[in-house]
């Protein structure tokens, strides 16, 4: 007797429109109701105040205000789309190609016989537009062109410098050890010099983004011809996997991403839960750079780059890796001087004058690019 009644009741209840609890009233445990009292971005800022005020002294306030303000972008023109039209359009917006400007300026100077500066050996075919110093205009978002490819890629213009410094030459085999999310990898492809390109990143989700970028910007036949290979392996293993293989290697290591850490809360490396990870970063960076060096052919070139201002992640890592290779593998690596390179781009970027090795682009309100550190090395043996 009870069962049919129960069934009836259940049916009735189903029909009654028990109003759904509105979305906003559902308890959502995963979201805090207020912001954390000491968010990771504040921890990051505190950390920077402590270390960089010592490291940079009087320069630190102007770097600090630039880091906390909106950054400036550059537009890397996609050579595989209608780059001449795109360039003309960007010129109309009052932007100019800083790479072209720098190189033509140098050519003028060397023709005038001013000094016997050697050719800075920049990677060719890179076109990147920026607005003038002090101009805070923004680029409109990139659009799909007629060939089904995007017309330009918006990135921090200073991130192009490591690729320029690598000095690709036609026919090079290139390795990008920590490739995602793909800005520098795209730039490597834009030079048109790669015979082979291996792009790797530990994180599979980020490799997915890299694939998307390549898909949107590079036509398929080029990708096939160049044999772009995207992998998600641990970069530290590359010495064993493919030792002595590549002409040019770019090691753009994971770092504290200074600018990003001051603005974004999600996955911020300055979270207390990631403290250990952060403290192990320099060691990870040394390992990655060593692997990159091991993967280079003797006589090949490696560029190490980060987007952090910290000594510990920049010069110390370079010196540490060179020492490691000398001691453990008896491989000689020489740091190459980039001061001529720096002079080329002095008008667009603000460089820190006293780096022991390598070059550091510091953010400044007039040219709010960076921070970017890069150092070029040559494997001698």
């Amino acid at each position: 007797m009870a069962a049919p009644i129960l069934r009836r009741v259940r049916e009735l209840l189903k029909r009654v429109d028990l109003a759904r609890v509105p979305q906003r009233h559902r308890h959502k445990k995963k979201w805090a109701t207020t912001e954390p009292k000491f968010p990771a971005s504040r921890l990051a800022l505190q950390n920077f105040d402590m270390t960089y005020s010592v490291q940079f002294g009087d320069l630190w306030p102007s770097i600090r205000v630039s880091l906390l303000s909106e950054q400036k972008y550059g537009a890397l023109v996609n050579n595989f789309a209608a780059w001449d039209h795109v360039s003309a359009r960007l010129e109309q917006l009052n932007a100019r190609d800083f790479v072209n400007e720098a190189i033509s300026h140098w050519q003028l100077e060397s023709e005038g016989g001013h000094s016997a500066t050697p050719s800075p050996a920049c990677s060719p075919n890179l076109r990147c537009f920026t607005f003038a110093r002090g101009d805070v205009s923004c680029f409109p978002p990139a659009r799909l062109g007629s060939l089904g490819l995007m017309d330009y890629y918006l990135m921090d213009a200073a991130s192009l410098l490591p690729v320029l410094a690598l000095g690709l030459q036609p026919g090079d085999t290139v390795l990008d050890l920590c490739a995602a999310p793909g800005g520098k990898t795209l730039a490597l492809l834009q030079t048109g010099c790669c015979c082979n390109l291996a792009a790797n990143d530990l994180s599979t989700s980020r490799t997915g983004r890299l694939q998307k970028v390549l898909h949107n910007y590079v036509p398929q036949d080029i990708r096939e011809r160049i044999q772009v290979r995207v992998t998600s392996l641990d970069g530290r293993k590359w010495g064993e996997l493919e030792g002595d293989t590549y002409d040019r290697v770019l090691v753009d290591v994971p770092c504290t991403t200074d600018r990003h850490s001051l603005h974004e809360e999600e996955n911020n490396i300055f979270q207390r839960s990631r403290k250990k990870e952060r403290q192990m970063l320099p060691m990870l960076q040394v390992q990655l750079l060593s692997a990159g060096l091991l993967a280079t052919k003797p006589g090949g070139h490696v560029v190490y780059s980060t987007c952090s201002l910290s000594h510990l992640q920049n010069e110390y890592v370079v010196q540490g890796a060179i020492e490691l290779l000398a001691n453990q593998y008896s491989i000689e690596v020489q740091v190459e001087d980039l001061s001529h390179f720096q002079k080329l781009f002095m008008n667009t970027f603000c460089f820190f004058p006293s780096c022991q090795v390598g070059e550091l682009v510091i953010p400044n309100l007039m040219a709010n690019f960076g921070p970017t550190y890069f150092c070029r090395m040559r494997r001698l043996t």
Binding site: R42, S69, G134, L365, M366
Partner: protein
């Protein structure tokens, strides 16, 4: 005739008054038996010292001040006078003005300010101002600057004067107030009330502080009350300036844009820190006078120690940031495009709730820390607290609706966000 008591006090000069305005005044109060005596003191420019102005407002009893000074003017209400007084001859006007202390030159100026105004009108307006404690010279200056004062109905003048007296704004204070805000007499009572109400009830200034503010920053009367409140909240919560200092440094006279530009610039440079709960900072903040009251060039050279071109760029960037934040507030549903539908719906719901809380206000009434945490690091004392592990998956964009639940009830609940 109403039996009006007469207080006989020491006086140096007794001037029989036939002023229309005074006649009307007795008519006002004349109905009931009370001791009404208008006592006004005109101090000469040289005499300093505190003045005790007798306020005679409506049905209140008047306070007598048996002070004797030179040029004591006492009104002796003789008898009830009808409202429409006999029109005064220009000579009578001039004599009255002379009696009030105006010089010949002043009187000439006054008469030329607005020739179309009736002499009676001129007399009533000027006498009101004199009664409020202004000296003849400032009266001339004020009337020359804003001739529209002469066109005001005398009743309104009187009402406003008594209100100002009640607020404690007479004599020298009024001079500055008139200079900074000539429309103090012509603006609507409810507008002034709104401003005073915001200062007293929302910002919790004391009555003396409100008077001081109105005296020193007359422009306050022209501002929108909610903007005023926002400016106060910015000073109190974000910059950590207490009531006393807000009044003393005349903070409310500066435009919000200027305050934000200079303050946020200093903050991002690392040269200004918001004090924590105990009012401490890790660095010595520059004095307010070194931030706001000096010229931009000096500010950049001395306080910010930065270059002019960098500051220009910063101002542009800040303007853009503010514009995009305002856009976000007014249209929160746009902000979360890449998130799942579920979250987007929640955004929209909370967005409308926020709109209900602050209808029509373009500016956030509740100071929302979430929108302005960038570069504002040391609000918790700059000490790394050992706090329990917070949920790390916090969304970037805290929607406004949430924070309003922790609305500070006043400065006492200042840091409980």
């Amino acid at each position: 005739m109403a039996a009006l008591g007469r207080q006989v006090l020491d006086w140096h000069r007794l001037i029989p008054l036939t002023w229309a305005c005074l006649g009307r005044r007795t008519f006002h109060f004349g109905e009931q038996k009370r001791t009404v005596s208008l006592l006004r003191k005109l101090t000469t420019a040289s005499s300093g010292g505190s003045l005790d102005v007798v306020a005679c407002v409506g049905p209140k009893k008047c306070v007598q001040e048996p002070e004797c000074r030179t040029n004591l003017v006492q009104c002796l209400p003789e008898k009830r006078a009808p409202v429409d007084r006999v029109s005064l001859e220009p000579e009578e006007v001039i004599t009255s003005l002379l009696d009030m202390g105006f010089s010949e030159a002043h009187i000439k100026d006054l008469l030329s300010v607005q020739p179309s105004a009736s002499p009676q009108q001129l007399l009533s307006v000027t006498s009101e101002l004199i009664l409020l404690g202004l000296n003849p010279e400032p009266v001339c200056v004020a009337l020359k600057k804003s001739p529209q004062l002469l066109r005001l109905p005398v009743l309104q003048m009187r009402k406003r004067s008594s209100y100002l007296r009640k607020l404690g704004l007479g004599e020298g204070k009024l001079k500055r107030l008139l200079h900074g805000c000539p429309e103090v007499f012509s603006m609507r009572q409810q507008d002034i009330d709104a401003v005073v109400k915001v200062l007293k009830e929302k910002c919790l200034f004391t009555v003396q502080q409100v008077t001081e503010i109105l005296h020193r920053c007359p422009g306050v009367l022209r501002q929108d009350p909610s903007e005023l409140e926002y400016q106060f909240q910015y000073a109190y919560f974000r910059m950590g300036i207490k009531h006393r200092d807000i009044v003393r440094t005349e903070f409310l006279q500066y435009s919000m844009a200027k305050v934000k530009q200079r303050h946020i610039y200093l903050e991002r440079l690392g040269r200004y820190q918001t004090p924590d709960k105990k009012g401490q900072t890790q660095i010595a903040n520059p004095l307010l006078k070194d931030i706001l009251s000096i010229s931009e060039a000096e500010f950049l050279a001395r306080t910010a120690r930065s270059s002019a071109e960098e500051f220009e760029v910063f101002k542009k960037l800040l303007a853009r940031e503010e514009a995009s934040e305002e856009e976000e507030e007014s249209d929160p549903s746009d902000a979360e495009e890449e998130e799942e539908d579920e979250e987007e719906e929640e955004e929209k719901q909370c967005g409308t709730r926020e709109a209900q809380l602050s209808p029509g206000a373009a500016l956030p009434l509740v100071y929302r820390q979430s929108l302005e945490t960038r570069g504002c690091p040391y609000q918790e004392g700059g000490v790394i607290r050992i706090c329990p592990q917070q949920s790390t998956a916090v969304r970037d964009q805290q929607e406004p609706g949430r924070d309003s639940s922790s609305l500070p009830q006043g400065p006492s609940a200042a840091f409980d966000w």
